[in-house]
Symmetry: C2
Subunit: 308 residues, 2 copies
Amino acid sequence: MEYPFSVVAVDVGGTKIACAVVRYENVDAAPIILSKRSIPTDAQQGGEVVLARILDLVDDVRAEALSHGETIVGVGVATAGRVDVDTGNIAFANEIMPGWSGQPLGDALRERFECPSAVLGDVQSHALGEARWGAARGAQTAVVMAPGTGLGGGIICHGKIVRGKHGFAGEIGSTMNTLDAGDGNLESVAAGSGIEARYYAACGVHQTGAEISHRAQLGEDIARQTIENAGRALGLALAGWTNIFDPDIAVVSGSVTKAGPIWRDAMVSAFKERTPGVLADLPIVDASLGDNAPLIGAAENLLDTLKN
Amino acid sequence: MEYPFSVVAVDVGGTKIACAVVRYENVDAAPIILSKRSIPTDAQQGGEVVLARILDLVDDVRAEALSHGETIVGVGVATAGRVDVDTGNIAFANEIMPGWSGQPLGDALRERFECPSAVLGDVQSHALGEARWGAARGAQTAVVMAPGTGLGGGIICHGKIVRGKHGFAGEIGSTMNTLDAGDGNLESVAAGSGIEARYYAACGVHQTGAEISHRAQLGEDIARQTIENAGRALGLALAGWTNIFDPDIAVVSGSVTKAGPIWRDAMVSAFKERTPGVLADLPIVDASLGDNAPLIGAAENLLDTLKN
C-alpha cells in the first residue's frame, strides 16, 4: 500500500462506541488519530440497535474522511465480547451488552461497506496496539494483562496478536488462581470485581475498588490484604506466563494497576519469587496509548489481514 | 526456492547425534528423510569434542548429498540445551552434556559452512516438526508437552515456533505445579524423574518409571497414586495453557505418555475439569513423527529463517 493511507477504526465498549480515522503517514511514523467521535453504546437497547449504531457511525466517519480525500483501506473493529475468528461475528457477550451475543457484526460490515473489514476482541486490540506503537513497541513476544472490572489479557507472538481457535487466547481471567489454589479463577481475586467481592466477604462492607485501595494505603488490614492478594495472584500468573513465553516485555493496564504501591510491590515480588534467572529481568511496564490503544490495534489488525 | 531442495538436519541429544538429508519434493509433499546416520554423542568427552563431531558429521552427510546432486539450501540443527536466539550458540546445558553450555555452535556452523544455518532447541524442533508435518499438521496454534525423563514443551503460534527472548518459550517443566500448589515445579511431579522421586519418597523403593506404571496397572496403591498425580498435574497445566492460548490441538509425547490408561485418564479428566465450554473439545493427540520430528523441525526452522 502506498502512504499515506487510513483505516476507519471503531472501539465498541459497554458504555461508549468510539470511532476514528487512523492515518498512516509513512512506514516509521506512529499512526495519527483523526476525527475521533464517541457515542453512547446504549447497550440496554439490545444488540441489533447497537449494531445499527456502529454501522451508521462508521458510515459517517468514513464518508467524511473520503470527502477530505483520505485513502481508506478498510474498517477495523475492536469490540467487547468474544469474536468468532472466521466470521468476525460476536460469538458471545456477557450481560453488560444484552443481545450483543450472536450479532453478525462481521457479516454486516462486509455487506454494508465494499472495503475490507476485520473484527478483533477489545482487549486483544488493546494489546496489539500497545505492541505495535505503544509501551511494547516492536516486541516480538509480549503479554498484556488488563485487570479492570474484569480481567482480560492479550498475547503477542511473532509480533502478531494470538487469537486462538475460538478467539479465547489471552483470556487470563478464567485461568486458575494459584494464590489460594482451587478457590476460584484469577479474575475472582485479581480483578476489580474480585477485589470488591473478597473485601465484602472478609468484612461485610461493600466498597469500590478505588476506596479499598485507598483504605489499604491508610493501613486498614483487610483492605491491605485484599489488595496484596490481588497483586500477588496477578504476579504469580505473570510468572507462569513468563516461564512459558519468555516474553520481551509485559504490559499492565486497567483500573487495578492504579491501586498504588501495595498492589504493585505485591505483584512484582510474587512474580520474582517464581521466575528464575534472566526471566526475572522482564520489563513490566504500564500501557502508554490510553483509550487509543484499541483503535490503533483494530487498525493494525485490519492491516494484518490485508497482508495475508 | 525451487523444488526439489534439501536441508541437512542434525539432532543433538545426550546419547546420540542424528544427521540426515531432509528432502522437499514439492509444496504439498511431506519431506523425506534420506541418508540418516547416527553416532554416539560421547557427551562425557566434553562440549568441544561434541561440537567437532557434529561439524564433521554434517560435513560428511552434506558432501555425500552434494555428490548425489542434491540442492542443499542450508543446515538446520536441533540440540539439547538452551539456544541463544540471536547467535545459535548454546546458552546453557545441564549435566547430561558436560561442557556443552557456552559452546559456539551457531558461530561454528557459520564459519565451517558457507550455506545458511539455524539452531533451535530440540523440544522446540520436535514441536515445530509435529506442527508442520506430524500430528498437528497445519495447526496455527498448538501446544506440545513432552514428559520424558524431564519435561519440555513447545508452543506454536501463527504456525511458527515461539522461542521467546532468551529461548525459554515452552519450558513447561519449570512452571508451577498446581496439583499440590507450592510443592515444586511441574517437572517434579509430571516428568519421569518426578514420578520416580515421588514414588521413592512415598515408599522408599527406587523403581524405574516403566516399572511404576506397570505396578500402577496391577493395582499397587502408591504406584497408582503417583501415576495419577503425574497425569493430573499435566492435565491441569494443559488446562491453563488452553485457557491462555485456545490452541487448535495439543500433542503429547515422551516416555511418560506410554504410562497407560491410568495416566491418560487422569490427565484428560483434570484437563476437562478446568476447561470450560468449547475449549474442552481440544484434541489431545500423540506425536506421530517419532525420532524424525526434531530433524524435520530443525529443517523447517532453517527454511523459516530463509523466508525472513
